[in-house]
């Protein structure tokens, strides 16, 4: 398992900040989470049951040589932590090859240096999102 450059960079950015400022960076990811593309407006997306707020996600795997992955997640504004996690995963995974996404370590959330600032319990929501993304990508690749 190896960390793709995009995710490694995000993890570095978090860890480079003093612990009490890392939430500010997470807030930026939360603020900048892209809206779902219009084609998913009425789609029946996968609910991330492990998250306490209504969070839905889906992936696209292109039929190109790399099997390029698209990641789409939506979370309400009242749940900024979850939105922040979604923003990190979208920015870090979107555009990677399927093989790269599947190789992301399951404990990536623990590499962000947020365990103390956010609490381990809250970080589990991010692990759940990552797990669901990887599972969907694996299904698409096998299909």
């Amino acid at each position: 398992m190896s960390l793709p450059a995009e995710l490694a960079e995000i993890a570095e950015d978090f860890n480079a900040m003093p612990e009490n400022e890392r939430l500010e960076l997470l807030l930026e990811f939360s603020d900048n989470l892209p809206e779902l593309p219009a084609r998913y407006a009425d789609a029946d997306l996968e609910r991330v049951e492990e998250c306490q707020s209504p969070v839905f996600l889906t992936v696209e795997v292109a039929q190109d040589g790399d099997r390029t992955v698209g990641v789409f997640i939506t979370a309400p504004r009242e749940a900024p932590t979850t939105r922040g996690f979604a923003g990190v995963l979208t920015e870090g995974l979107h555009g990677l090859s399927a093989a790269e996404v599947l190789a992301v370590p399951d404990d990536f959330p623990s590499m962000l240096g947020l365990t103390r600032a956010v609490s381990p319990l809250r970080l589990r929501g991010m692990s759940a999102m990552l797990g669901r993304i990887k599972r969907r990508v694996a299904l698409e690749v096998r299909a």
Binding site: R77, E78, P80, T81
Partner: protein, 301 residues
């Protein structure tokens, strides 16, 4: 925006509750500190009441190693760093109908902070009324909050005390119905806080926390609260009551209702709650919708 002020004098301790309007009028009052305490650790950063200080239950009020709260020195350091004095009026509000705000209030009460109140309706009501929010963090002067030892004997119950309480006094289980019956070992949408066994503590009455609040998250009038807790759940004046949920946050909300709004004098929150009880070896458990018998009690005493 409604300017109508609820009549808090109907409650046993009306000084424990303030309205959003009162808070709006007192944002800059010396000696009043507004505190936000949320489930979502980032919600404060997205915008909070002007001048409000953040207090996080998970990362600040808990001991980082043991499953317990900070000690007297820890709390003194924490509140001093936030610019809160022992004499200050602390007004707490938060998300999810004030669950975590009530939890923070209860923890501060363990340390005997005299004047600590809830903002009725919590963060959602303030937002719904389109009142001001800001991302600007307050610069408060550091204080010297004294080191006060936590009193765990008056407002808090531990597992052995709950075992001894069985058959002696009422318990209120404030979790959802499927958690109470044992169909679920965790709260809907909270699978990470599960337990090995499902069900409830025998003899506990099921009164989900939400029965205490109106649609806008404010507390129900006293007469309606009495209908829920006295008439339906069978509590009687003078009862020694123990409340619990899964980790003690929703039951802090109910503790607040019983202690401060209805005026019960002996209410203890069992913060170990189901994540302790449902994982403990040998303690009695009842399943299904009935409160259950005491027959199995004693095994673990």
């Amino acid at each position: 925006m409604s300017s109508e002020q609820p009549d808090y004098t109907q409650y046993a301790h009306p000084e424990r509750l303030v309205s959003t309007e009162w808070v709006a009028q007192n944002l800059e009052t010396p000696g009043v500190v507004i505190v936000e305490s949320d489930e979502d650790v980032l919600l404060y950063e997205t915008g909070h009441l002007p001048g409000a200080v953040k207090l996080d239950w998970h990362t600040e009020l808990n001991d980082p190693v043991r499953r317990d709260y900070v000690d007297g020195a820890g709390l003194a350091a924490l509140l001093s760093s936030k610019g809160i004095s022992r004499e200050d009026t602390i007004v707490i509000y938060g998300d999810r109908s004030n669950w975590w705000a009530a939890y923070a209030l209860w923890v501060l009460s363990l340390f005997g902070h005299q004047d600590v109140r809830l903002m009725d309706g919590g963060r959602d009501k303030w937002v719904a009324e389109e009142r001001e929010l800001t991302r600007q963090k307050p610069q408060r002067q550091l204080t010297e909050y004294p080191v006060i030892e936590r009193d765990d004997s008056t407002l808090r119950a531990f597992l052995p005390q709950v075992l001894n309480h069985l058959g002696q006094g009422p318990l209120i289980d404030v979790r959802s119905a499927p958690e109470y019956t044992g169909e679920r070992t965790h709260m809907p949408d909270y699978p990470e806080e599960g337990a090995l066994r499902g069900g409830h503590i025998p003899t506990a009455a099921s009164v989900p926390w939400a029965k205490a609040v109106a649609a806008d998250g404010t507390f129900l009038p006293r007469a309606e609260l009495e209908a829920v807790y006295l008439d339906a759940a069978g509590l009687k004046a003078g009862d020694d009551v123990v409340t619990y949920c899964r980790i003690g946050e929703r039951s802090s909300h109910t503790w607040f209702v019983l202690q401060h709004l209805l005026g019960f004098e002996n209410v203890r929150n069992y913060d170990g709650s189901w994540t302790e009880w449902g994982n403990s070896v040998g303690v009695p458990v009842a399943v299904g919708p009935d409160a259950g018998e005491l027959s199995t009690v004693g095994a673990a005493r």
